[in-house]
């Protein structure tokens, strides 16, 4: 019986697509590219690579998007070249596709672009390299931390962070003092993999940063890394002008079970922002100190039900740990 009428066609007729890709009409070529992309046909890769050189930017863009499914050396080479396309949308599509890649074989063509004269190309190359997690990126990425362009430095941190290599710690700490806000934030976030003892200084610097988003990131890092040495600075951060920083500090003090923070946390029990009071209630529970109960009983009568819930739960935690 005629199965064809019921089911989508399996695969795709490559000869037919190849012929249509030679059409005079750019729209016909574009439609052929889309069909090829959807077929998932592995043998279609070469045709899509060729379509990246199409005179019509719409066809090139469709081909660049379609190549995201061909994680490997050939597609990576072609897409790396497409990062230089004169049409910004084609380059953006190539950038997006490269970010899907995981195969280490995709690295060489991207590494060859990390020294490119255009900063946006260098940044895109680093974005593509991050997910590949290849050791060969380590040295050039460290070098890229001194790039003149902030976006490049930020993306290079991403590639380094995925490697989780302790030898990069010092360089990332240095990047934590970068002029650019987003670079400092990324560097601090990247350090979460390193042992607390190695990154304490960066955390303390970050907590003293001039921009609140960096202080917020540093406060969060302290808890994630288990940096007990940051306790005093975190307590100071509870008084930060920006409540978001105080909130992360409270969360980290809870994680660190910082017994010395109870009084300072308690002082925030009447803070106007309920998100912060909620975090304070949670932290006091995690610290599990009896002297927190007076603050928690106040928080258990808070006007905000989330704060009350957490406070009650924290009281329960303290009660049950005392038993």
């Amino acid at each position: 019986m005629a199965e064809r009428s019921f089911f989508e066609e399996q695969g795709v007729d490559l000869d037919d697509v190849a012929e249509r890709l030679q059409s005079e009409d750019a729209d016909a070529r574009r439609i052929a590219v889309v069909e090829l992309a959807e077929s998932g046909e592995p043998a279609g890769e070469a045709l899509l690579v060729a379509a990246l050189r199409d005179p019509h930017s719409g066809v090139r863009r469709a081909a660049a998007s379609a190549l995201e499914q061909f994680d490997g050396a050939a597609a990576a080479s072609a897409l790396a070249e497409a990062l230089l396309d004169e049409d910004a949308e084609v380059a953006a599509a190539a950038d997006a596709s490269l970010r899907q890649f995981r195969a280490p074989e995709a690295a060489p063509p991207l590494l060859s672009l990390v020294g490119h004269e255009r900063a946006d190309v260098r940044a895109a190359a680093w974005r593509g390299l991050r997910g590949l997690r290849v050791a060969a990126t380590l040295v050039p990425a460290l070098r890229a931390l001194d790039d003149v362009d902030a976006q490049v430095r930020r993306e290079a941190i991403g590639a380094l962070a995925y490697l989780k290599d302790e030898t990069t710690t010092a360089a990332l700490i240095r990047a934590g003092r970068d002029d650019h806000l987003e670079v400092r934030r990324a560097a601090l976030a990247a350090l979460a993999f390193a042992p607390a003892s190695m990154i304490l200084e960066a955390i303390l610097d970050g907590l003293a940063d001039r921009h609140w988003r960096v202080r917020e990131t540093a406060a969060s890092l302290a808890g994630r890394a288990g940096a007990a040495g940051a306790e005093a600075s975190l307590i100071a951060a509870l008084a930060d002008d920006v409540w978001q920083v105080a909130l992360e500090a409270a969360r980290s003090l809870g994680r660190l079970r910082a017994g010395g923070a109870v009084v300072a946390l308690g002082a925030l029990a009447t803070h106007p922002v309920s998100n912060l009071r909620k975090e304070v209630a949670a932290a006091l529970g995690e610290i599990r100190r009896h002297e927190a109960l007076c603050h928690l009983s106040l928080l258990a009568e808070d006007s905000d039900p989330d704060v009350r819930k957490i406070a009650r739960w924290s009281i329960h935690l303290i009660d049950s740990s005392a038993r």
């Binding site: 729209d27 016909a28 439609i31 889309v34 719409g58």
Partner: protein, 77 residues
């Protein structure tokens, strides 16, 4: 008084200049979860045939030539 056929503002509009359905593209028709789009037999261009739009946007987002605009149905606007 209400006529049996009323004028209506349809949520999906297609720019016939940009639409390449006449050359074989059927993407918007394929991706509509409610199957409300068709290729017009006379113009060869895509159009909204059934007024049953969930304003979900795949037709607009997936169109290779950005020929489609979806507006939120008037009753919800």
């Amino acid at each position: 008084m209400s006529f049996a056929e009323n004028p209506s503002e349809f949520p999906v509009t297609v720019d016939p200049e940009k639409c390449i359905a006449d050359k074989g593209c059927t993407i918007c028709v394929d991706v509509c979860p409610l199957d409300v789009l068709r290729i017009h037999p006379e113009t060869g261009k895509a159009h909204m045939k059934y007024d049953e739009c969930w304003y979900c946007l795949p037709c607009e987002l997936d169109c290779p030539t950005q020929a489609i605009a979806v507006s939120i149905p008037y009753l919800l606007r």
